[in-house]
Structure formats: C-alpha cells, structure tokens
C-alpha cells in the first residue's frame, strides 16, 4: 500500500480531494489537503472545522472528499475527530473492524489557534491516535480577513486595519507549534506546501507516531495577503527561506530543523509582494517593521539553539 514519495509514483495515486471544490484560485489549502491525503498510507477519516476549506468543499449535494468526512462546528474539529477515533477503537475491541484507519482533523488558524484551542488541547492531552493539521493563512479569511492570534505583527486586516495611529496588528503571533509540542505529544511539526517532500514525510511520521500529533502548515491566501493569484508556492518558499516560517519538527521532545537556508534571505522579500504589509514600508512605520523582524529573528535563533541540542 505504501507509495514511494516520488512524483512519478505519487502521480499514479488517486486524488482523494477532487476538483470541483469552490476554493479561490491560487489558495494554498486545497494543495495542502491533496498532499496530506497523498502522503497517507492507510484509509483516512477526516474532520473539518468550519472555515474556507469546509464551506467550499462540501456544498450539498456535492462533496470534494472521496473519504469519510465530518464537519460539525467551528471550535471543535479536534473533539469531533476524537469521537470518531474512539468509536473506531470500540469497533476494534469488538472485532467489528479489521482495517487500520488514520484520523485527521483540518482547521484554519482561527479554528485552531483561537476558538478551537481548548478542544485541540483537550484532544492532544487525552492521547487520541489522530493528526491535527492547521492550515495557517494568518487571519479569519472566510469571514473577510479579520485578525487572529496567528496574524503576524504589523499586518493589515479588516479588524486591525493599518491606520494613521495604529499601523496594523500591534501584537506578536502566538507560537502554536511550540505550544502543541509542550503537550509532550510524540510529534509536532511545521511544514510548507513549497517544500512538498518535507511536508509529506512529516505527514507520514505524524500518522505513524501512534498518538496525538500536530502539524502547522503555512497556507498562502492571495485574498488576505493581497498577493498575486499564482504566487502561493513562491510565497510559501519565501516564507521558508526568510525564516518567517521555519521548517522543523519536535519528535519525542527533540527539536530538529528540517530545512536550513544556505543564506537567510531578508524578511522584506517575503513582505514586499504582500499588500497586507505595504504600509510597513512607509518611513513612519519603520519601528513596527523592525519589531516584526525582531520577532522572526528571535524565533529563528531560538530554534537554532534548540535544534543544536
């Protein structure tokens, strides 16, 4: 059943998330979902938090999901899939299920960092055999680009608009990947769709860890980021190469960088193509830009130190 993680082999596998969904052109999320499902080596049952991916992928009477899928509400994808996984164990115990099944919850950053944080933390602590995937586009994009706790400092959103007094979001992002690793789960990782092999390897590691696992995957959103429609993968790559979005994993407590750029690109290369950061390049907002750069540098330095052991 296992497929080698090579493009030639993967291209022969059936897409379990099909065309016909109504996600925006150039959205990162469906690319991520396809990669995740292609990487999985067992049948998958998925839960989906309310959000872009959910409202666009199952509009009655159509579904883009060729696997069993459940959406219940916004804040509870982790709790919902924990119920499905528990019934699976009840089936196994009674000999009603002979296959090995994997359980994945997908949520955006709003449904994961914010409103779904409690239910995610609870499910991880309880130790369900499940993978939670956050596709992080850095704001509540589905409801119209409102700030979330994943929005980077300085970004312009509809609820922290860049104005003459307040130049975009004043606060630093929540470091959710680190918080999830602090649950002492067997596996937590950050990935990016530009680095597909890294992403798919991480999915395989997570799904074979035999416990609760978490992946945070950057998901470019051209509507919210105000970038070019065909720039999703290029921006994802810049996010990694500027160390805005470090690729790393925490496996049984050990932190490891899975990609180290030869030369770290200046952060502005990632920021410049995005309209949400445009105001930061005005001379009066220099301080906010520096704060953002300092946030990113501090995180990168911490990871270098931590992964050096």
């Amino acid at each position: 059943m296992s497929t080698e993680l090579k493009l030639k082999e993967l291209s022969k596998k059936e897409d379990l998330f099909t065309h016909g969904h109504r996600m925006c052109a150039g959205c990162g999320a469906p690319i991520i979902v396809k990669m995740v499902l292609l990487a999985a080596e067992h049948p998958v049952i998925a839960a989906n938090a309310t959000g872009c991916l959910e409202v666009s992928s199952c509009i009655s009477e159509y579904t883009a999901w060729k696997i069993p899928w459940i959406h219940t509400a916004f804040e509870n994808a982790a709790a919902t899939i924990s119920g499905v996984e528990t019934m699976y164990r009840a089936y196994k115990k009674k000999g009603k299920m002979d296959k090995d099944v994997k359980f994945i919850a997908f949520g955006g950053d709003g449904g994961t960092y914010d409103i779904g944080f409690q239910s995610l933390s609870g499910a991880m602590e309880r130790g369900h055999d499940m993978l939670y995937i956050c596709y992080d586009n850095g704001a509540y994009m589905n409801t119209g680009i409102q700030r979330s706790s994943a929005t980077p400092r300085g970004a312009d959103t509809t609820t922290c608009p860049a104005g003459s007094v307040i130049p975009g979001k004043p606060q630093r992002r929540k470091d959710l990947t680190r918080i999830m690793a602090a649950h002492n789960i067997p596996y937590a990782a950050q990935a990016a769709p530009s680095h597909w092999l890294d992403l798919m390897k991480k999915v395989r590691k997570a799904l074979s860890a035999g416990g609760p696992t978490f992946m945070n995957i950057i998901s470019p959103c051209n509507r919210g980021w105000r970038s070019k429609t065909d720039d999703a993968i290029a921006l994802s790559r810049l996010a990694v190469e500027t160390c805005y979005w470090p690729l790393y994993e925490v496996e049984n407590g050990e932190t490891r960088l899975t990609f180290k750029p030869k030369t770290k690109k200046p952060l502005i290369e990632f920021l410049k193509p995005q309209g949400r950061f445009k105001h930061l390049f005005a001379p009066e907002n220099e301080q906010r830009l520096k704060q953002l750069e300092a946030d990113i540098d501090a995180e990168w330095q911490r990871l270098l130190k931590e992964s050096a052991g």
């Binding site: 459940i70 509400a73 528990t86």
Partner: protein, 392 residues
Amino acid sequence: MQKVVAVTGNEAVANALRQANPDVCAAYPITPATDMMQRFASFVSNGEVDTELILVESEHSSMSACIGASAAGGRVITATSSQGLALMWEMLHIASGDNLPIIMPVVNRALSAPLNIHGDHSDAMGARDTGWIQLWSEDAQEAYDNTIQAFRIGEHLALRLPVMINLDGFIISHSIERMEYLEDKAVEDFIGEFKVVNALLDLDKPKSYGPLILPDLYIEYKRLQHEIMSRVKGVVLDVAEDFEKLSGRKYGLFESYRLEDAEVGLVIMSSAAGTAKDVVDSLRVKGIKAGLLKPRLFRPFPYGEMAASLQNLKAVAVMDRADSFGGYGPVFMEVSSALYGSSKRPALINKIYGLGGRDFLPAHAEETFLELVDIAKGGGIKTIKEYIGVRQ
C-alpha cells in the same frame, strides 16, 4: 423478575445506561449529574460495560465527541446539567440536524446568574427548540424506565433522533427511593443491538457529514426534521406498550391523574407532580373535583391529546419550574396553544414555582387548587402569571 432496590435517581439512571452497554460515552462533570457519570465510569473501570470513555475538557467537547462517535456508527451516551447543557447548546442542534440518536440524561438544574446548583427546569426548557426528543420523569423509577425506553425511541429507524431524559436535580438525582430494576438480559433484549446507519467507519461507502446547505434547500431540510418529529408520538406509544409487557409499568405521552371527571386541574411536570397528586387525593376527600396532568413527552408536544384531556375542565393552572422573563412559562405557552383550537376550554392560569430548588410544598398545590375552584365558580382570573412560594 424485577429486583427491588433503594437507590438514588442518579444511581438508577447510571444502571439503565450500564444495561444499555453503549459503545462510547463522552462526559464532563457538573453538579448534580456528576455522580451519575462517576458511577458509569466505575462500570467501565470494572469491565461491567464494553464502553470506551472519553473524559473531555468541556461539555461543548463532550457533545462534539458524541456527535463524532455517533456519526462513526454506534451507541453513544453522555449526561449533563444546567451550564453544561447551555454550553452544549450549539452542538445540540447539530446532533439532531445530523439525525444522530445520542442518549443524554439531563439532571435538571437552575441556570446562572445568580449561580445556583439546585433543581429547576430552566436548562432543558432552554433546549426546547434544539430538535431533541424530551422525556420527563417524576421519580427514580420513571427516570430509569425512560432511559431504557429512550434507546428504543431514539434509535428507531423511522426517527434516528437524540433523546434527553430529564430528572429533577437533587430531588430525584440524590434522594433514595424504592424502585425496581429489570434484569440485565431483559433490558438487553428489549433495547436490542444498535442498528448502524450511514457510518463514517463504513470505509467502502464514504459519507460526508455536515455539508453547507444554502437557501435553495435549507428550509426543505428543516421541514424534514419536523416531519420526522411528527412520527415520534407513535413510536413512544409503541415502545411504551412493549415496555409495559416487560415491566408491568404503563407510560403514555403524559399521565392523567383523576382527570376524567375533574373540574379543576394542574398541569405539572417531574417530581412536583408527586406532591400534587397527594393534594388531589386530599381535595377529593373534601368533595373538590381536582385532577392532574403530568407531561412526559414535552418534545414533540402532544397538542391534540392534551387538549382532549383538558378541554372539559373548568379551570386549569399550568405549573412552570422555569420562566420566560417577559413571557409566560414554557409549559403554559404550550398548553394554551394546545387548547386554543378546542371549542370548549378551561380558564387558564400560570404559576412559576420552585426556581433554584425552592421547595414545592403541598400547601402551594392546595392554594392553587383553591384559586382554581374560585375561578371555576365564576370568580374570574385576577392574574394570569404569578410566582408562588416567593418571600415577600
């Protein structure tokens, strides 16, 4: 053979849940339901059930996990009270909208603020429109019997609806009463094996649960929920008939107590109905034609049947252990709706009683009956809605 025991309501219902042997139970503690789930957890720990327990971090997650487990394809339970039910509110609609027969005892308790852990019906009345079947219980025996019947009702292939079994916090949940347990095997046979419908775990036929449905189909979907609800009364009566054969105990949509020739009557739910029945008996001795109607199935509400049972009375007081501030009590609103279409109907008043666990005493029932006697004689209604047992 039935076993006579002296147990609390919580213990009785926990035993009914044990006998149903659910596949999954997700639970979160809250007074006064806590002790029911503690007892159930000990059944799990001691291998007396096959159930997988999920000890969640909130009631919102307990109902979410129940929904996931039920959609996965098996028998699922939880229990709660008050704030816990309120926190679940969003998910209650999703359980019923997805046709998931989750069984949930609700140990009725007041809602905050001010904080109060004692019994009233505010919690379940707030969940009136969530699409759940609601059964109400007068005592530990009825709570136990309702719980067993709830599995047959909710899991019925014509319904597949979640069921709430209501029992009064502390008054029933924590008082020890004499009651009778059915044998495990008899309950197992009565409830039967869970029939799997549209399981997520059926990997060969993938299902999508919880789609987006826009204005082109949403109202049709909601009308369908109403149509399914309209089948509930028939199923409840069929199940009650089978249950009577098994237990000798008779249940209907509601209980009529000395109502046939009554001139004045109370409509009163749950434990307070027991108190009021004693008062009916003593008034009858005094020559007052008093009677009582105790609702059992509150959702769906048996409008026609209830109107037929009440229309010949002269005056009726509807007793509510919950309030709608700025409106009438929730049971009153239903009973008056039921009677509006009758050509003959009694004068109707509404009493709010027992909020936050305030005792409902025989004197309260008696003074209400005497007011009804006065109204029946042509004394007129002074106030439609009044609070009784309130300190001045």
